[in-house]
């Protein structure tokens, strides 16, 4: 078997993977990126509406800072996030966006003078200042206190990914395209690289690396209706799970985006609502203010999606050819705005629906969109269980999103994580721990194991079809592990998935075509996806509360007393059909923002006894500072975090009006 040696192996060529690769390479470590597809085609390109960073340049953003971004993100997560990591994230996001600005992203800029905007269904005129002219502007998004989503029209992810990829090319980082990691090589405690399949020739090869970083995105394709690209099958998370050592965090935390077009499931950006678009029902009634008087269409995604499904269930959906849906109305934004700031939306509507959103309503319904769960890492991106294994971006759970991610925080996370984890990988490689001793016998053993697995799939005579079983898995997840969950349905899903896992061992391939063999690919990915699906379904069954996007109709309240805990899933043995679940408590006594009401959604929750204690402690810590202390001092008194960041990312972020 061919063996390729490198210092750093990054699996995944999207924003997180490439930024981590650039970071490691800059520090002098040879780095190779593996990608299922050409890197510029990664799913990062699909992010439309914006990247959250508290620059505070435009009028709607004035007064914004890390504190507000922090609080929005923690509330968005329904207190499931790791608050230290959220602080690291919100502190680094402005740096990430400024770095990308220097590298070439054509961020939309503030234009001085008067502008017409649409707020709450009404036209208003605002005036941008001379001082802000030419700085990066931002738009409104759900669940945020300020206009914080910086954007490039509605092709934000595309522009970011192209700039990032071009910088990676400039840095001379090789991207081995059409390569799929099938297994991590490890000796039980140390990750040493991966066994990889060439998706053109079908050949297996090994990459031996001192550090391995998984950045393969989410696992949305375990669902039938998903906005995700077809490559988002979670293979990075799956191979980490299959080590039996690394754990996956909060796999049951799945986000459903309110506005996917019907029936294709293609996303139209939250920017539609951020810019003033409305949700209407069959009667043309704007229903969100009835449910969410505070934030209306711009509550967090979990809340809006739930309200939409609730409204459909109450009989207000539009009967369409493909089932029921609701309407997204952006007509009120006007032709000029749509053609300038929502042009991808216009294109998608034109090609897939044959409509023009300038004149027509867009049929939408919530669809699976984002995986909050992923490979559990520490705050620097390393697996606590398997040394030398790192993860970044959507495939990781380090964990800034908890049980619901805010719009615009995903692309922000990819780049911030790439910056922090890339540096952390370099530190690791520079340390004695980064030295690797690996025998070729171990590499060969893992190669042999994968070769046998593939041969086993090919030789089966059980008559099962990989495509058919994939469809059944996806139907099960969309039907039983969706927006509204219930113990009975979840148990049914767990049973069905166990049965599918047994059936997946009896797949017969109809094609033995040399080369890539797409049927074989579908078969081996299915076996891994079923494990991720089971972690999701089983985790959801065990979590007897409602938190963020995880809503249990039979346990409708958030229960901090029992469930302020992160689910950790490991796969105990290759033949097992259920994960082992473990739980990691979130310590309220170290939180800067103790649990409370999010400002939208249900007010009712079961409090943890520590919440009151921590609140008193916080008041006591702030009292001696008086009113004159600045926000940095107050924050420092509650939850210091700067020491967790790499030294070059610790400095304060300058904003308009700050002394430089």
């Amino acid at each position: 078997m061919e063996i390729i040696y490198t210092d750093v192996l990054v699996i995944g060529g999207g924003l997180a993977g490439q930024r981590a690769a650039i970071g490691a390479k800059r520090r002098g470590h040879e780095t190779i990126v593996l990608s299922l597809v050409p890197a510029k085609r990664s799913h990062s390109a699909a992010a439309q509406g914006g990247m959250q960073a508290s620059l505070g340049n435009c009028l709607g953003a004035s007064g914004d800072n890390e504190d507000i971004h922090f609080a929005d993100t923690v509330r968005g997560s329904d207190w499931g996030a790791d608050q230290h990591v959220v602080r690291m994230f919100t502190h680094t996001a402005p740096k990430a966006i400024r770095e990308l600005a220097a590298w070439g992203v054509p961020w939309n800029r503030v234009q001085r003078g008067e502008h017409e905007i649409t707020v709450d269904g009404q036209k208003r005129t605002i005036a941008e200042s001379d001082a802000a002219h030419g700085l990066i502007t931002s738009r409104n998004f759900g669940g945020t206190g300020k206009w914080r989503a910086c954007y490039v029209s509605d092709g934000t992810g595309h522009a970011m990914l192209y700039t990032m990829s071009n910088q990676a090319i400039a840095a001379g980082i090789p991207v081995h395209e059409r390569m799929e990691a099938l297994a991590l090589i490890h000796d039980g405690g140390r990750c040493c690289g991966a066994i990889v399949r060439n998706l053109q020739s079908g050949k297996l090869l090994a990459y031996v690396a001192r550090a391995t970083c998984i950045a393969t995105g989410g696992y949305g394709r375990i669902y039938r209706v998903s906005t995700n690209a077809v490559i988002n099958e979670g293979m990075g998370a799956a191979i980490a799970l299959e080590t039996g050592i690394a754990s996956l965090g909060n796999m049951e935390a799945i986000q459903f985006h309110p506005t996917a077009i019907v029936p294709a499931g293609i996303l139209v950006t939250e920017g539609c609502r951020g810019d003033g678009g409305l949700l209407l029902d069959a009667a043309g009634h704007r229903f969100m203010p009835d449910y969410e008087p505070q934030k209306m269409e711009l509550a967090s995604r979990d809340v809006v999606s739930r309200r939409m499904e609730e409204h459909i269930a109450a009989g207000h959906g539009v009967q369409g050819r493909f089932g029921e849906h609701l309407w997204l109305d952006i007509r009120l934004l006007g032709k000029a705005h749509i053609e300038r700031n929502l042009r991808e939306v216009k294109e998608i509507c034109h090609y897939f629906l044959g409509i023009d959103p300038v004149r027509d309503l867009i049929p939408v319904r919530p669809a699976q969109h984002y995986s909050m769960g992923g490979i559990r890492t520490d705050h620097r991106g390393q697996s606590p269980q398997l040394r030398g294994l790192f993860a970044a971006g959507e495939s990781a759970c380090w964990d800034i999103h908890g049980f619901n991610r805010l719009g615009g925080n995903s692309v922000a996370e990819t780049v911030v994580a790439g910056m922090i984890v890339g540096d952390s990988i370099a530190d690791f490689c520079d340390s004695p721990e980064g030295e690797l001793q690996v025998s070729t016998a171990l590499v060969e053993e893992f190669g042999q194991r994968e070769r046998q697995r593939l041969a086993g799939i090919g030789s089966g005579n059980g008559g099962e079809s990989a495509f058919e079983l994939t469809r059944l898995m996806q139907d099960t997840m969309t039907g039983n592990v969706g927006i509204f969950r219930h113990g009975d349905r979840l148990r049914e899903a767990v049973d069905t998935l166990q049965e599918l896992q047994c059936r997946a061992a009896n797949i017969t391939l109809r094609s033995s075509a040399p080369g890539a063999n797409p049927e074989l690919v579908a078969a081996y990915r299915l076996q891994r996806m079923l494990k991720l699906a089971q972690c999701t379904a089983y985790g959801a069954l065990q979590r007897t509360e409602s938190r963020g996007a995880h809503y249990r109709a039979d346990y409708p309240r958030r229960n901090d007393g029992e469930w302020l805990r992160r689910t950790l899933a490991t796969w105990p043995a290759p033949e097992a059909t259920l994960p082992s679940l473990d739980y990691e408590a979130l310590d309220i006594m170290t939180m800067e923002l103790p649990p409370g009401w999010r400002g939208y959604g249900d007010k009712d929750h079961i409090a943890h006894p520590d919440t009151e204690r921590r609140k008193h402690q916080i008041s006591a810590a702030l009292a001696p500072l008086g009113d004159s202390a600045d926000r940095y001092t107050r924050q420092q008194a509650l939850m210091p975090f700067e020491h967790l960041l790499p030294p070059h990312l610790r400095r304060r972020n300058q904003r308009l009006g700050d002394e430089s």
């Binding site: 800059r26 597809v37 050409p38 890197a39 510029k40 085609r41 990664s42 390109a45 699909a46 740096k95 966006i97 400024r98 770095e99 600005a101 220097a102 590298w103 070439g104 054509p106 961020w107 939309n108 800029r109 234009q111 030419g134 700085l135 490039v152 029209s153 092709g155 595309h158 192209y162 990829s165 071009n166 910088q167 090319i169 991207v175 395209e177 059409r178 053109q200 020739s201 690209a229 077809v230 294709a264 293609i266 050819r321 493909f322 300038r340 991808e344 998608i348 897939f352 044959g354 495509f467 094609s511 075509a513 080369g515 890539a516 063999n517 797409p518 049927e519 400095r651 308009l656 430089s660």
Partner: protein, 249 residues
């Protein structure tokens, strides 16, 4: 009654696909026809997956986003290059012929190696912002200002998704393997427009001031006709050619 009757009977589509697997020594290029019933709102993405799942599991093609934004699924659809994922079958006749994009290395059937080609183009034209000390940019201070209109004009050219349709539609690219094509020339224009890139016209001339670059274009305009993102390619190339003539003279 000059009204087109509502289509109620579902059409039966004949999809002819140019097949070849270069990894199989026994494979010879041939057209294979698949018949399937058209569904409501069916795209070529849906049709091709149905063929693979129910008729021929060895069929190779590339889709990623299936939303018209990633550029993976360029192919020749009834003689014209286009993105398969956003092509609705209802806009096509019953007989649909699909072939891989010419001009790129064939991986198998409808899958071609646009990634390798585009990476080569990027390396050759150095499609990134050239600025001294970029890795030491101060990211703590306010960002450099940019005129809002200029940012939008850069994005207009940045919208290219490197799908390869312009190469497949290009006469020069048929004749010259080293032609950088509209995709490459557009990138030059994009970085030339960008004040963050310190390269001069003389630097760009060194990259594209010959027949493999801007002087290879025969103004057949196939690139602009088939660009799925409607980029103003012909105007960009014409402008660049004038600038390069002035620079080279």
């Amino acid at each position: 009654m000059n009204r087109i009757p509502v289509q109620e009977v579902r059409r039966s589509l004949q999809i002819r696909i140019l097949r070849h697997n270069p990894h199989d020594p026994a494979s010879k290029p041939c057209l294979q026809t698949f018949e399937l019933e058209e569904a409501e709102s069916m795209t070529l993405f849906i049709a091709l997956n149905e063929i693979r799942q129910t008729m021929d599991p060895s069929l190779q093609f590339d889709f990623v986003c299936r939303a018209g934004i990633c550029g993976s699924c360029g192919m020749i659809i009834n003689g014209r290059p286009g993105l398969a994922c956003r092509t609705l079958t209802r806009n096509l006749p019953e007989c649909i012929t699909l072939a891989p994009l010419p001009g790129f290395e064939l991986i198998g059937d409808l899958s071609v190696n646009t990634g390798k080609w585009m990476r080569g183009m990027s390396e050759r034209l150095e499609t990134w912002v050239h600025q001294r000390d970029l890795d030491r940019a101060d990211i703590d201070q306010l960002e450099e200002r940019m005129e809002p209109d200029l940012a939008e004009r850069i994005y207009e050219l940045e919208r290219c998704i490197e799908c390869g349709c312009c190469i497949a539609a290009c006469g020069t690219a048929r004749m010259r393997e080293d032609f950088v094509g509209a995709v490459g020339l557009n990138q030059i224009m994009r970085f030339r427009l960008d004040p963050r890139d310190e390269r001069s016209d003389a630097d760009f001339y060194a990259l594209v001031g010959d027949e493999s670059g801007v002087f290879g274009c025969m103004t057949l305009l196939g690139c602009e006709d088939y660009c799925p993102k409607d980029l103003p390619l012909a105007a960009q190339i014409a402008f660049l050619r004038r600038r390069m003539v002035a620079t080279g003279a």
